[in-house]
């Protein structure tokens, strides 16, 4: 009996969780709709790449705090004034610094951040190449075509 109760609560919580996850959009933080679909798309893209300075690991679009709402309003107004995406970003950086950008700009200070993955990839490729070359050298002696067993193989068994 007790086991069944436990199973029932698990089921109920699973359903509750699934409902919550599936209906997230219905209670999205930001109900803004800009008059022009293209502006709206740019608005969504921008608010998803700017940081909420108060919660710091959330985007402006996702954050329910007051300050994020103020900054979304600024993004909206700047877009309606006809500012470009870069101008909106520059406007934010002038006030809050580079930290507000989730995608940091390439500069002397951020160079290592952008280049490190490429360098790591090159090192990895180099290591791979050395290993493969080392192993190829070992098989070089065996010049028999792949898939053709030596003719005497069947006899060898018997």
């Amino acid at each position: 009996m007790r086991q069944r109760t436990i199973r029932l609560t698990t089921l109920v919580s699973a359903i509750a969780l699934a409902t919550a996850l599936l209906t997230t959009r219905a209670w999205a933080v930001d109900p803004t709709e800009l008059p022009d679909a293209r502006l709206q798309a740019r608005y969504l893209a921008l608010t998803h790449e700017l940081r909420c300075m108060q919660c710091q690991n959330e985007t402006l679009a996702d954050s329910p705090v007051d300050l994020a709402a103020d900054l979304r309003r600024e993004v909206r107004e700047l877009l309606l004034q006809g500012k470009s995406d870069d101008e909106v970003r520059a406007w934010m950086v002038a006030r809050y610094g580079d930290f507000i950008l989730f995608r940091p700009r390439f500069s002397a200070r951020t160079a290592w951040l952008w280049l490190a993955p490429g360098v790591a990839l090159l090192i990895g490729l180099g290591v791979c190449w050395r290993i493969v070359r080392g192993r190829t050298a070992l098989v070089d002696a065996d010049s028999d075509p792949v898939g053709e067993d030596p003719p005497q193989a069947p006899d060898a068994r018997g």
Binding site: M53, Q54, Q56, D66, L67, D70, L71, E74, V93, A94, R95, Y96, G97, D98, F99
Partner: protein
């Protein structure tokens, strides 16, 4: 032995780099203001004393002052209030309040109860001015010089230590001497 030497060396180097990064990372949560060394964003906002009157950066030019962003909804501001009163009493420089997204009546009540450290309080109902100053949480304090340039910014409740070590030494000699 030899085949582990290189990976171990790389790992050790990584540990050293990360340790330096952690040690040297500035106080967590404090973000350097891009405003430092730049002109303070101008504003002209209604005054708390008399909303028909304006508190304007234009009128503050020619003097050093502290711009203190606060609100009655801000718990830390209550903690810092005593320090602001002490700062006022040194007469080193005037304090200008920026009351951020607040209720005027509550703000007046707050100052009547706790004492008013400010020479003037500007009302930022919309929060636009706070955004221009890159404020992301109250209290924040800006030190602005006689040219209207932001010299220093402090995030969090002002303390005696910050006052003595960061603010007073930045003031011109005659102002600091008075404190």
């Amino acid at each position: 032995m030899n085949r582990f030497a290189l990976p171990m060396a790389v790992f050790a180097a990584l540990v050293v780099v990360l340790a330096i990064g952690i040690r040297h990372s500035p106080q967590k949560g404090i973000i350097l203001s891009p405003l430092i060394g730049k002109p303070a964003p101008p504003f002209s906002l209604p005054s708390l004393d008399d909303p028909a009157h304006a508190v304007a950066t234009q009128d503050l030019k020619g003097r050093w002052y502290l711009l203190n962003v606060w609100g009655t909804w801000c718990v830390e501001c209550r903690a810092e209030h005593q320090m602001l009163l002490e700062a006022r009493d040194t007469h080193a420089l005037p304090l200008i309040g920026l009351d951020w997204k607040d209720d005027d009546a509550r703000a007046r009540e707050w100052l009547a109860q706790l004492g008013n450290p400010y020479e003037a309080v500007a009302l930022d109902h919309s929060g636009n001015t706070a955004v221009d100053y890159g404020v992301y949480g109250a209290p924040e304090t800006f030190l602005i010089n006689d040219q209207g340039v932001v010299v220093y910014k402090y995030v969090g409740p002002l303390t005696r230590e910050v006052w003595a070590k960061e603010i007073l030494p930045r003031l011109p000699a005659h102002a600091a001497a008075r404190s």
